[in-house]
Symmetry: C2
Subunit: 220 residues, 2 copies
DNA sequence: AAATTAAATTAGAGTTATCTAAAAAATAAA
DNA sequence: TTTATTTTTTAGATAACTCTAATTTAATTT
């Protein structure tokens, strides 16, 4: 059972939007994620249903199947391995990798991925802190919370970002936030949810709730 | 002006079959090369003509344009750089790279190729001995002749293979012929064109004309 | 519960790439 | 120079994927 590039992209979007099969996903959400029209999504859902990677009853909703999970995780694995390659080996910045990985993830060659994984020394996380599923689709995910949900005086470490857009990542570069940084919450503004943190025990950083929501923390 | 994956494959085939625009190419030849039907080729030729990468008059023939040359060489450059990557970095054997490179060559990202080239240390030849065009499409090709055209006692070095099929390459592996090997013609059989050579001053090798035709030599 | 609004699906059409079968043009043979 | 053969192109279908516009179903509001 092999999927087309378009099918892989849809399935990956469904996996992400459903948070690994937990949350329900709407046609409109998928359309927004893939940047396509709801009509196209309906059509594709029917096809994905026929291929049994989702369970689909029209107007009712969908559920990703175990098979769908497996295939989605395979594509995600490829995507993230390629991102590591681009950053570690080809000196890409973390805000430059997404689009290229979006293409590379569809290359069909089990041997290639196996070798790439070995070449990169079996990385466990991609440049945005997201876990890389192993060859069997197992993901060991760390418990992490969004920065905006932390309380004053709580400490932790930045382990991932929720938004991987170049705009957001370049903003983080500019203010000196990065994966691995140790942080402590100094103050929170009740009114708008903005937050002030201390980075690496030396730099004060003030950010909006919108930004904080997209920074994921492993609390100490 | 960007080409689809299919268009890139056709244009590359045309470039190769025409020997860089020198020889004339038939619809049937292209169909055989791409493993498609002549009817599909006719259709594609019309489209490539409209995009002005070839000059095409039906029933008459085609001529690759300077623009077409440039684009074909760009794809060939990508193909060969990826082959080097697979062999040098990922430990692929030279008979395992073609299919994967056939996919990778279509990844769209000028930055990626620039970085890959640098990472590989600006290689000049791919694992099969074929020259890698530079970013401007310039190819510095060495003068080389097919092994079957050499005379007795002539010496040279294997610099490339004409056939990159796994079957042929694995045969060469088996008998110990490889790119870079120094050879000398010991004997030629008039009757069937088969040939006996000395490899690296130590090993005698006997091969059919069919094999010798696909081994390219730089004479000393 | 009926009416309104929102979400999802279907209908119908366009694009790209492929195929088989039929027709046309060019080439080779008689 | 007709006739036969080969090559190439066109006609007509099919498969994937996408879109806009229309319709249907579900959810919300009065
Ligand atoms: Mn993708
Ligand atoms: Mn990522
Ligand atoms: Mn290709
Ligand atoms: Mn090659």
């Amino acid at each position: 059972m092999e999927l087309t590039t378009a099918e892989e992209n849809y399935l990956k979007a469904i996996y992400h939007l459903s948070d690994g099969g937990k949350k329900s996903v709407s046609t409109n959400d998928i359309a927004a994620e893939i940047r396509t029209k709801p009509a196209s999504v309906s059509d594709m859902l029917r096809k994905l249903g026929e291929k049994e990677v989702i369970q689909y009853r029209k107007y009712y909703g969908l559920q990703i199947t175990p098979l769908g999970m497996r295939l989605a995780l395979q594509t995600i694995r490829k995507h993230r391995l390629w991102e590591v390659f681009l950053v570690d080996k080809l000196q890409f910045a973390w805000d430059e990798v997404h689009e290229v990985a979006e293409q590379l993830e569809h290359i069909q060659s089990p041997l290639l991925i196996e070798r790439l994984d070995a070449y990169l020394n079996y990385p466990k996380f991609d440049p945005h802190g997201d876990p890389i599923p192993d060859a069997f689709g197992d993901v060991r995910s760390r418990p992490r919370i969004a920065l905006n949900e932390m309380g004053i005086d709580q400490s932790g470490q930045i382990v991932a970002v929720k938004d991987s857009s170049p705009e957001f990542l370049r903003y983080l570069d500019k203010v000196g936030a990065y994966i691995g940084a140790r942080i402590k919450v100094l103050d929170k503004v009740e009114f708008d949810g903005s937050i002030e943190i201390l980075v690496d025990q030396k730099k004060n950083l003030f950010m909006s709730k919108e930004v904080a929501k997209n920074i994921l923390i492993l609390t100490l």
